[in-house]
């Protein structure tokens, strides 16, 4: 079965694709940015929470406070321990490579350590003078690292701003494209609907008889083909009544063609009134009409035909050229079940029956098997 491509589905897919595109952009942005933000701004309680240089300075300060005079020997050892911690926190490649003062600071810490080891008393002024470059270095490193962090924050903010713009423009473009496409689609739908209405109108015109308003021969051919196919496939029965107005040429000659046309209109109207919604009436030729009785067997068709004969008789349309003095019709009848056993065409069969009715005196019904 051919898949149905409806406008509703198309719009649903367009909406889904647009949403997926937006969601993709957002997730990519978050995916790129989130780890970066975490890496630089979510270090609480971790090794790099505080710059190592700052932590080193804290130990240097502790060492200095422990070296205040007078001090017991134990305090000196503690100060040396603090100096070692300060040394360790400063002794990393990031600092030694990027901050030239680091090597000097490490040397100074080492010097003080040796001074404390070699002498029980150390001059405070010498301690301060030795440690000053180390303090200055830790300040410089901290400042440098803060500056780097600040540059990075600005870079991230700039990147966020760019991504925000991309996101807004993409959203704008998608929405605009959606609106434009929607407009174009609506316009096309209108054109298609107009065209379809026009086509339907022409088809209706092409299938109708202009004089009587009933279906014409083209419509009958199509409907007969459909019924024959259906009968062949499902066995559904149908019947045909072929009607001909008796002595219609004489009627036209004596009453005039406009009266003939009028008479045809009366006859078709009277037959139409007695038909079911599923039955159809066609103008087959000049004064020849065909009734296609849907889902009707031979006996039911004969009843309908008799009623049709009576309907026309009851119209009592005056016809001076006939014995009865009014217009009558002759009807030939054939049913789908009659063509099952013979190779004969149903149309030929019904035509033969009409001929038989005509030959046997008109104003009557003739069926294939009576």
């Amino acid at each position: 079965m051919k898949p149905q491509f409806s406008a509703k589905n198309a719009w649903l897919w367009l909406a889904l694709v647009s949403t997926a595109l937006l969601a993709g952009i957002v997730s990519i942005e978050i995916g790129v940015l989130h780890p970066k933000l975490l890496r630089y701004f979510d270090n609480t309680g971790t090794l790099t929470d505080e710059p190592l240089a700052l932590r080193s300075r804290e130990h240097l300060l502790k060492a200095l406070s422990l070296l205040q005079e007078p001090r017991p020997e134990q305090q000196t050892e503690q100060a040396q321990h603090e100096l070692d911690l300060a040394y360790g926190l400063l002794n990393i490649s990031l600092y030694t490579r990027q901050y030239p003062c680091t090597s000097e600071a490490l040397v100074r810490i080492d010097q003080l350590h040796h001074m404390l080891q070699s002498s029980a008393t150390v001059d405070q002024a010498a301690v301060h003078q030795t440690m000053l470059p180390a303090f200055q270095c830790t300040n410089a490193i901290e400042k440098g690292q803060n500056s780097k962090r600040s540059d990075l924050a600005q870079e991230i903010v700039a990147s966020l701003d760019t991504q925000r713009r991309i996101f807004l423009w993409t959203t704008f473009l998608i929405v605009t494209a959606g609106i434009v496409l929607f407009g174009v689609h609506r316009q096309q739908l209108r054109i298609i609907a107009d065209s379809r209405r026009e086509t339907d109108k022409w088809i209706r015109h092409a299938m109708r008889d202009e004089l009587t308003g009933i279906y014409n021969r083209r419509a009958f051919d199509a409907d007969l083909r459909r019924h024959l196919k259906e009968h062949k496939e499902t066995g559904k029965s149908f019947s045909l009544l072929m009607c001909d107005v008796d002595y219609f040429k004489q009627y036209n000659d004596s009453m005039g063609h406009p009266a003939g046309d009028k008479a045809l209109q009366y006859i078709t109207q009277s037959i139409m009134k007695m038909l079911r919604g599923s039955d159809s009436l066609y103008r087959y030729g000049g004064e020849e009409l065909i009734v296609l009785l849907d889902n009707t067997d031979k006996l039911q068709a004969q009843n309908v035909a008799r009623r049709a004969l009576n309907q026309v008789r009851n119209l009592q349309l005056p016809h001076p050229s006939t014995e009865l003095g009014y217009l009558t019709i002759s009807i030939g009848c054939a049913s789908s079940e009659e063509i099952e056993d013979c190779d004969e065409d149903i149309l030929e069969l019904v035509d033969k029956q009409l001929y038989k009715a005509k030959q046997s005196g008109r104003n009557r019904l003739a069926c294939a098997v009576d």
Partner: protein, 154 residues
């Protein structure tokens, strides 16, 4: 003569006390009881050696140490799931559901025993970086320098 021996023993014992007091140790606290492990003995226990790029050194170094679970098996006869690591400078880190065969207590770098000055004497590192960029130091926040105490948590 006996008195002389006693005096000598007294002198030797008390002169050794400061040295004992200064010996570097790692505390292992389990059920509120602390075991002081000599760093020297841990250095002797170190049986794992490998080379990796040390992010804080900015170069490849030859690491020697012992696996964290081996350390626990040897000194506790079990491997706890939850521990707390305390560094000499007061830095603390709770450590839970840690990956086995991954964390190493480092005692030597390029054959040289670690000291406080080289972020030792015991340092906890990973055996590999699992795709992390070793140039970004913030990727190694779980590493513990100057490890002083390991507490087993309930």
């Amino acid at each position: 003569m006996r008195y002389l021996y006693c005096i000598l023993i007294f002198i030797v014992f008390f002169s050794a006390l400061p040295a004992l007091a200064h010996e570097e140790t790692l505390s292992l606290v389990n059920n509120g009881k602390a075991i002081e492990l000599s760093v020297d003995s841990l250095r002797a226990e170190a049986d794992l050696e490998f080379t990796l790029f040390a992010p804080f050194r900015g170069q490849d170094v030859r690491i020697r140490g012992l696996l964290l679970e081996s350390f626990f098996e040897k000194h506790l006869s079990r491997v706890p799931e939850r521990i707390r690591l305390v560094a000499g400078d007061g830095y603390e880190l709770p450590f839970e559901n840690w990956k086995p065969n991954h964390w190493v207590l480092v005692t030597h770098e390029d054959g040289v025993p670690l000291t406080l000055r080289t972020q030792g004497p015991i340092r906890l590192v990973e055996r590999n970086y699992a795709g992390r960029d070793p140039k970004i130091l913030r990727n190694f926040n779980d590493w513990i320098w100057m490890l002083k105490r390991i507490e087993v948590l309930p």
